[in-house]
Structure formats: C-alpha cells, structure tokens
C-alpha cells in the first residue's frame, strides 16, 4: 500500500519533471531560432543597403523611395521583422547578390551534395571507429593498440584541411587512384541529385568523405575504447565469463551493446558538425555543396546567401540538439529506474 503510493508519487514527479524538461528545451529552441532570425534580419537591414544592391549606384531618389515602399522598408521595425521571419520560415530569402538567382533554389540545388557527403562521412566514422575502438580496448597495452591510439592523436590535432591535402597528394597526385575534384557523375531524381548510384560518383566521394570523417572517426574510436574498458570491468561481464560464454559472445553480445548508447548520442550530435565542417572539406575538394556556396558568399559579402545558410544550419543544429536531448532523456536508464524501482 505504502510502496504503491510511493510508486505513483514517483511516477507523477517523473512525468512532471519530464514535461518541464521538454517544455524548457522547446522554449530554448524557439528562442535560439528567433535570435538567429533576428541576426539574419539585422544583416539584411543594416549590412549593405538592399536598395542600392537592387537598383545599383545611379538610381534616382524617386526610384529609391518607390522601391523602399515596395519592399516595405518604410514600415515600423517590428512589422518588418515579422515579415522577414514569416518569409524565412517559408524558405524565402530573396535574391543572391552575386549570382542573381533565388537563394532558396541555390540552396535546394546544393543541399543534396552536402547531405550525402555528411551522411557517408558519418557512416565511415561509425563503421571504422567502432571496430577500431573495440580492438584498441581488447588489445590494451599491446604495441598495435598503442600505435592505434597514437594515431588518433593526429586525427584530433591535425587541421582538417591538412588531412584533405595529404590525401589528395597521396591518392590523387602520386598514385593517381582517385579523383579529387568535384562530384563526378550524378543521377538526377527531379531536383535531388545523387552521386551514390554511379561508379564515378562513388569514386569522387571517397576522398572527401574520409577527410570529413577523420575527426569523428577518432572521436568515436576513443569513446568506444573508453566505454569498453569501463564495461569490461563490471560484474556482469565477469558473470558472463563464469557462465562459460565464448569471448566473442562476451565482447560483442554483452560488452559492446552497452557501450553503444553514448556512441549513438555523440554521433547524432556530431551530424550537425559534419554538415558545418563540410565547409572546409568542400573547399579542399571543390565539392559543389552548401559549404562552398557559403564560403563564396562570405568572400563576396553575399548577405542573402549568408543569412539563409545561417538560418538553415541553425535549424538543423537546433533540431538535432533537441532530438538528442529528448532521446537521451528517453534512453538514460537511471532516469527510468527512478520511476520503476519501487
């Protein structure tokens, strides 16, 4: 009787806590997006005069006033901001100053290239990072594992573009095995282009994807190693051994499974940084993605493109962070135990 009422109370408290947590996170996400939109709006309004940008230097004063009125620039500040936010929410950021095309269509064109690069890099990081991490943990103290760990030090401290340059030098210039420039042959699916389906496209993807994944790969490897070492010390692993299970089943069935929650969380969080760091990789390999578009926008002070990229990437980050926060809350056993233990 007492136990069950405690149980209900705990559950009640837990779900309240969870609700507050989710609401707070949501509110924070909205505030972040609004402030990013505000920064983008300020860029539009005060950095570079939009009227001069559209009409050129030698327009008459009447033309300017007319355009100012057309664009709604004579209206009060809050009204302008509201209109900007509504437009931005619909993906409408105006015309690129440099390319003279709609920003939204430029971004839509470039987005698949970046997304593919980031996803493949993420898969490479997981596919190599987890086995190597397990290996380094199981062979701890042996020379091969030591060498591997020293290697990761370079992955962490080498600047990303240097890794790219070295890969180009070795595999494209000296060995001439792989292409190092652009995306190669792509297949077009009504607006979505993919390089994953042609041999040429895949070959072009190898070097950039490995470059982009280098940092995440070493991060995942170190994380898996640390988690594995921790788990291998626990009682249930000893018990599994005592039961006479094979090494294979102990390591992969019991130990590895329990290291994967933090690994997946970190990888999820890192997907955003993969997209952001793709800026550098895309510059090294002249990969025609959003990052290259953004770099050119920064170089030429192309405000609409910069603002659009800022809003889009912030949205991606906010969504990923929010998703991982909620997921983490859902899968963290300690939080669940509080509700069920009694």
């Amino acid at each position: 009787m007492i136990a069950s009422s405690r149980d209900t109370n705990a559950r009640q408290a837990f779900s309240n806590f969870m609700l507050v947590f989710i609401l707070r996170r949501l509110a924070q996400a909205v505030v972040v997006m609004l402030s990013v939109a505000f920064i983008a709006f300020m860029l539009f309004q005060y950095v570079g005069d939009p009227v001069t940008n559209l009409l050129g230097q030698d327009a008459t004063e009447e033309q300017r006033t007319a355009l100012r009125k057309d664009l709604g620039l004579d209206q009060p500040f809050p009204v302008q901001f509201a209109r900007f936010a509504v437009n931005a929410a619909q993906g409408e950021f105006g015309i690129s100053l440099r390319q003279g095309r709609k920003v939204s269509s430029l971004i839509v064109e470039r987005f698949p290239a970046t997304l593919e690069l980031a996803l493949v890099a993420g898969l490479i990081a997981l596919g190599f990072g987890i086995p190597l991490g397990v290996y380094a943990a199981l062979r701890r103290g042996k020379a091969s594992a030591q060498l591997l760990m020293t290697g990761t030090l370079f992955g962490v401290s080498l600047p990303n573009f240097v890794i790219g340059i070295v890969l180009i030098w070795v595999f494209a210039v000296e060995l001439k095995w792989l292409p190092s420039f652009g995306r190669g042959e792509v297949v077009d699916f009504g607006g979505w282009t993919s390089g994953l389906l042609t041999r040429d496209g895949l070959l072009h993807l190898i070097l950039p994807a490995f470059t982009l994944s280098a940092f995440q790969l070493t991060l995942i490897m170190r994380l898996v190693r640390a988690e594995m070492l921790e788990v291998l010390r626990t009682d249930y692993i000893r018990f599994a051994r005592a039961r006479g299970l094979t090494n294979r089943s102990v390591y992969f069935g019991h130990a590895l499974k329990n290291t994967l929650v933090p690994v997946i969380t970190i990888t999820g969080l890192q997907l955003g940084s993969l997209i952001a760091f793709a800026i550098i990789t895309e510059q090294v390999f002249q990969w025609p993605g959003m990052g290259l578009l953004f770099i050119q926008a920064v170089q030429f002070a192309d405000i609409p493109v910069m603002a659009a990229y800022l809003c889009l990437i912030s949205l991606i980050f906010v969504v990923i962070n929010l998703g991982v926060d909620l997921l983490y809350f859902a899968v963290d056993p300690r939080l669940r135990v509080e509700g069920k233990a009694h």
């Binding site: 924070q28 972040v32 402030s35 860029l43 950095v47 570079g48 401290s157 080498l158 600047p159 990303n160 573009f161 240097v162 340059i165 070295v166 180009i168 030098w169 494209a172 210039v173 955003g272 940084s273 952001a276 760091f277 800026i279 550098i280 510059q283 090294v284 953004f294 770099i295 926008a297 920064v298 170089q299 002070a301 405000i303 910069m306 800022l310 990437i313 912030s314 980050f317 906010v318 962070n321």
Partner: protein, 314 residues
C-alpha cells in the same frame, strides 16, 4: 587589462610560485615529451619573432625576387639550389623565409585572439559567478547557444559580417576582424571555467571579510577573487592557443582570413595547394608541416601543464 593589476601577491599566488620552483619543474624535467614539445615550440617562436634576422631572404622584398628562381624544389631534390633550402614558390619566394614570416603572423593572430578571449571570458565569467541571478542566467544562456554551434561556423559568420560591413577595409582592419572572429568564439570556455571557480570563491571568508569592511563588489572581484580563479585559465589558454592558430589557418585557407599581402601559414597552404597537381608538393607541404608541428607541440605542452598542475593526478 585588469589581469595583472594585483600588486600584493595573495597566498595562492605565492604558493603558485613555490609550485613552479619545485614539483612542476621536476615533472617537466622528467617528461621527455614535454621537453621535446617545449624545444620545438621555442624554436618556432624564436624563428617567428626574429624572422628578419633569422630568415635567409626577405620574401616580401619585391626587389630581390627573381622570377627565374621560381618553383625551385628543396635542395636535396635534383634541380634544387643551396640558396633556397626548402625550395621556392611560384613567385620565386624562398619557402623557408616565407614560413618564418608566416608563422609570425599565425602566432601573432593566435596569441592576440587568445588574450582577447581571456579578457572577455574572464570578465563575463567573474560577473556571472559573482553577481549571480539574471546576469548569470543571461551569460550562461549565451554560452549554451555558442557551444551548440561549431566554433569555425561562428568565426566564419563573424568574419563574413565584418567583410560586408567594411567592404574595402584596409589590411589592419582585416586583422582586427579576424582576431575578433576567433576570440568571440573562444571566450565561452574561459567564462564557464571562471564562473565555476568564482561560485566557490565568493562564499569564502576573505570575500565576506572584504564585504564586511565595505569594499565594493567590483573591487572585490578585481582585487580578491580574480587572482584566485586565474590558475585554470592559464592551462586553458595554452591549449586554446593551438586551436586559435588552427582556426586562423582554416579561415585563411578558406580565403577569409588574413589579407593576402601578409600571408600566414594558412594562406601559404592555400597558395601552394594550386601547385600540388603539377608536382610542386613542397610549396604546400612545408607550411602544412610547420602548422602541424606548432599546434601539436603547443597541445602536448598544454596537456602536460594540465596534468602537472592537477593535484588529483599526482
């Protein structure tokens, strides 16, 4: 500005000095990695600082440049000349000299931005930790938001805004924008660290005593709390110099960093990158190697310092 404004060493400051006399020096002498890193760092700093004296040529003196000497390989490759130890670039500049001048710019920008982010971060961290309440919440929210974006993205954004605000900026202003871009992304770490230690310090007796005798909040922060929260900042700063140098190199490599007239290591790598395909590997390889050497040894030095100053690890 207020960092060294404390004429009377507090007990912890003199303890820190004793620390350096004894254990830390000993730990330094017994760590070959730390000593090697220190030697490399020292060599790079000296070459960069005294580039005019040490460098065999002045790569920016157009009068001495010979187009005939362009694209010479390093001296041990056939076709190399002993005049140009590491070879020359497309304009006939001596790579070794360009490296020294470039490293100077890289180190200068790196250190300047770390100093600026220390000033910003420590001040905001002190204010947040000491005043608490709304100030604290406000500063920490900004930190949270900044941390949720990769620093390179924030730095690119600031540099982009700087570029659009001053389209035809003189070179000096380009440096200011660059340093601002790097330090406005780097201050968060300091703010969080200092806030943490300030929260501990502000409840200690010496702070209460100062309050009781009527010392103002800002004076307490500056004269009493500040010297006691600077220890971790020192360690953080060493590590942050490496990442500031990398950020600078990345921005310059992307073409939005230092002005082309005063190339840093990143600019040199960017320039050399174009020659990679025609087989002139040395133009981009040497600056890359220098960059890696500098950041790696500064990082190792920082790691060692962190371990040496951490009492829990001893």
């Amino acid at each position: 500005m207020a960092v060294d404004a404390n004429p009377h060493p507090t007990p912890s400051a003199s303890a820190l000095r004793g620390f350096f006399d004894g254990d830390v020096w000993h730990s330094f002498r017994s760590s070959p990695v730390a000593m090697l890193a220190a030697v490399i760092t020292l060599i790079c700093f000296v070459c960069a600082l005294f580039a005019e004296v040490v460098a065999p040529h002045n790569p920016f003196d157009l009068a001495t440049l010979e187009l005939m000497d362009s694209l010479k390989p390093p001296v041990w490759v056939s076709g190399g000349e002993s005049k140009y130890l590491l070879g020359t670039d497309g304009q006939g500049r001596d790579i070794l000299s360009a490296l020294m001048y470039g490293a100077r710019i890289s180190l200068l920008v790196g250190i300047a931005s770390v100093l600026l982010s220390i000033v910003i971060g420590v001040s905001l961290g002190l204010l947040a930790g000491f005043l608490g309440g709304r100030t604290d919440a406000f500063v920490m929210r900004i930190c949270d938001v900044m941390l949720s974006f990769p620093s390179i993205l924030v730095a690119l954004m600031i540099s982009g805004v700087g570029r659009s605000l001053f389209p035809n900026a003189p070179d000096a202003l380009a440096f200011v924008v660059l340093v601002l871009a790097i330090s406005l992304t780097g201050w968060v770490q300091y703010a969080r660290t200092v806030r943490g230690s300030t929260l501990v310090e502000r409840n200690k007796e010496y702070v209460q005593a100062a309050r009781v005798i009527g010392v103002g909040s800002f004076r307490i922060m500056r004269r009493h709390v500040l010297p006691n929260v600077l220890g971790p900042v020192l360690v953080l700063a060493t590590i942050q110099i490496a990442s500031a140098i990398i950020t600078e190199a990345t921005l310059s490599f992307l073409g939005v960093g230092v002005p082309v007239t005063s190339p840093s290591l990143g600019t040199l790598i960017r320039n050399g990158n174009d020659y990679l395909f025609s087989g002139e590997w040395w133009i981009t390889a040497w600056p890359s190697l220098t960059l890696v050497l500098i950041t790696l040894s500064v990082n190792l030095l920082g790691d060692w310092l962190r371990d040496a100053l951490n009492p829990r690890l001893r």
